[in-house]
Amino acid sequence: MTRLARTGTWPGIILAAGILAGCLVLALAFGPVSLSLGRLWELVMAGPVEGDLENAIFWQIRMPRVLVASLVGAALAVAGVVLQDLFLNPLTDPYVTGVSSGAALGATIGIVLHLSNLPWTTVLAIVGGLGTLVLVWMAARRRGRIDIFVLLLAGVTISYLASAVVTVLMIRASEDMYAIVYWLMGSFSGRGWPDVRIALVAIPFMAVPLFFTREMDILLQGEKRALELGVEVERTKRLLLVTAGVLTALAVSVSGIIGFVGLVVPHIVRLLVGPGHRSLLPVSLLVGASMMVVADLLSRTVISPNEIPVGVVTTFVGAPLFVYLLRRGRRV
């Protein structure tokens, strides 16, 4: 399979940015109330105005929802690239570190205790996610080094443990079961500006790996070779793992658990632009955002006025695409 952007970094990034812009416009235009391109432009120019229904739909419902979806998609894709390349394992996604299960446990506790969605359930989700990261981290640390394989195993184990606790809580608090299940499936339904504010925190964390593209390229040759070539491997690994953990926790806390984006997007982008991180990271970020925005658009329009959980959509779209690309591409 030939690459689209073999010649340089910028053509790929510009193309991906264009695609994201197109997806954002589509997602803002379509829904139970469709808006024309001209109308979209008027609404953007007008800004939020009281008493206009279309204006309220655009500014109070659609815009925050689309922004949250794009930020979550971008965060998961970046976390996916970082984790896959640190673990040198193509099957890794942002959820293997146990962060998402920890976040789910935090959110479940929030729901069971009938705390307000914002900020408390979200805060508990973030605390749960990062707490899990610390636990997994401690399990994987031996003599000042992080053993990546122990980290992976510990992450998977703690995921199961957290899921088991969530299940127990669901059975104990059966009246909240629907809310918990719905949260676990992942959705952008009803996300507003406060959620956008939380998701925006992810932006600086998404930027961190961009400063380590050379180190990440070199780490593709393995940790030992990276040491030989002069990379401070432990420091780089720590920084990137924490970054990926925070991105995952933030994403999960505002949207629940949405599968496949963090796994599939890095693979798709790697096949298109190659494994070099100078292209891979920014293009994955943009493609992750695009994919999530489109998935959310489908989730709320296909059986409108009902919604399909967005995680189901991402899986339906992502799985066949992934298999197709795997069969076409030589290597992942």
Binding site: R214, L220, R225, E228, L229, G230, E232, G274, P275
Partner: protein, 409 residues
């Protein structure tokens, strides 16, 4: 001038298992040094210690005047470059990208980093620069990794068995290249398994055995058959041909020494038996032989203990006495179908004396046909066992009929 690398009483253990013990040696700038030793003798560990990837459990590794554990990785990479033993990449990167990774330690300034294409051209493979790394052959990959390491522009290059995946032509090309780079001032320390390459290319060799330096010096001094036998547990034979020295080997595991056989031979009648017996695990001695005799040369190649007389001279008292000593130390004496004249008749007498003292003596029947001194007529009566030829002799030895041979195992 201070040495480039200095190891002082370095110990290293993985967990509780000691790998290196009391390693001390210096490496001067501009040297071309090979490290040889059996698998598991600690060669790769030694290289990783010099590159600061491992920290010594005791002692110090000093590179350019500073202990390795005080280096930041980037500074270390500017001092020491390493070509690893195994290198592969599961990701589809361009050769240019792979080579440029080597310049990481030089920072972002392109002027300080050098050019990947120039480096590959230096190694004679400029055309690889736009290929995909994953599409390259094993030999090409090895050169790309070497180019990557050279991009570090470090004064010391370490190589961990760079030739193990290469065919013979690529091997020679690689070592010629290293020699050339060494000529331009690069200090090279290279692990290798092929002792003949080690013999030809390197100024000095470090021989590691069970975690210790067994020898350190010029290859001719270091790769002696006794040393190789002690370190590798094989028989090594050193040959000189057209001004070059080369080694051949035959397997003989340590601790399987089966007994001593002394050969009375000469004129090439004993060369075959010598090799067969040595390969079968016997300790072989011979005598008295004249220097430059075919059997004497073979014995020397095999590193045998021999009683030797000057060329074309009859057996003198000294050689005769030495020969008797060797026979007494042996468990079995074999006399080949050697032509007997007055010059070497004393060897037959010595054998009969040894027989009288209790050492069994076997002989090839052909001996009597070539006896021009008339000293072998009575040997059968004296108790010498006669065999139809070399093949029968060998078979009897292998069957263990020389009871004395077996009982000493």
């Amino acid at each position: 001038m201070a040495p480039l690398v200095s190891l002082r009483d370095v110990d290293f253990a993985y967990d509780e298992r000691p790998v290196l013990r009391r390693i001390s040696f210096d490496l001067d700038a501009g040297e071309f040094i090979g490290i040889v030793g059996p698998n598991g003798s600690g060669k790769s560990t030694l290289v990783d210690l010099i590159d600061g990837i491992l920290r010594p459990g005791a002692g110090e590794v000093i590179v350019s005047g500073v202990a390795t554990h005080k280096y930041r990785r980037r500074d270390m990479a500017r001092e020491v470059a390493l070509v690893p033993q195994h290198f592969d990449l599961d990701f589809d990167l361009a050769v240019r990208e792979v080579v440029e990774m080597g310049a990481y330690c030089r920072g972002k300034d392109p002027a300080a980093c050098g050019d990947a294409e120039v480096m590959l051209a230096r190694l004679g493979v400029a055309d690889l620069v736009n290929r995909r790394f994953s599409e390259l052959s094993g030999g090409e990959k090895q050169l790309v990794v070497l180019a990557q390491a050279l991009m570090q522009q470090a004064p010391l290059l370490l190589l961990d068995e760079p030739a193990s995946a290469l065919d013979v032509s690529h091997q020679l090309r690689l070592f010629d290249l290293l020699k050339e780079l060494n000529g331009e001032g690069l200090t090279v320390l290279c692990i290798l398994h092929d002792l003949n390459l080690a013999l030809h290319y390197f100024d000095k060799l470090v021989v590691l055995s069970e975690g210790e330096v067994a020898a350190f010096g010029p290859p001719d001094d270091v790769l002696r058959p006794e040393m190789l036998e002690a370190v590798y547990g094989v028989r090594a034979y050193m040959h000189r041909h057209a001004g070059r020295t080369y080694l051949t080997f035959s397997p003989r595991l340590r601790g399987e020494r089966r007994g001593r056989v002394h050969l009375v031979c000469g004129g090439g009648t004993g060369a075959g038996l010598m090799r067969e017996l040595v390969d079968a695990g016997y300790e072989v001695s011979a005598g008295v032989l004249n220097a430059l005799d075919t059997d004497e040369e073979t014995g020397r190649e095999l590193g045998l203990q021999m009683a030797v007389e000057a060329p074309f001279s009859p057996v003198g008292d000294e050689a005769h006495a030495e020969n008797l000593e060797l026979m007494r130390a042996a468990d079995l004496v074999i006399i080949t179908a050697v032509p007997v004249s007055h010059g070497n008749a004393r060897n037959i007498a010595a054998a009969l004396q040894a027989l009288g003292e209790g050492t069994p003596v076997w002989a090839d029947e052909g001996l009597r046909a070539n006896d021009f001194a008339g000293v072998t007529d009575g040997i059968a009566d004296a108790g010498v066992r006669l065999f139809a030829g070399e093949v029968d002799l060998l078979e009897a030895v292998r069957r263990g009929e020389g009871a004395a041979v077996e009982t000493t195992t």
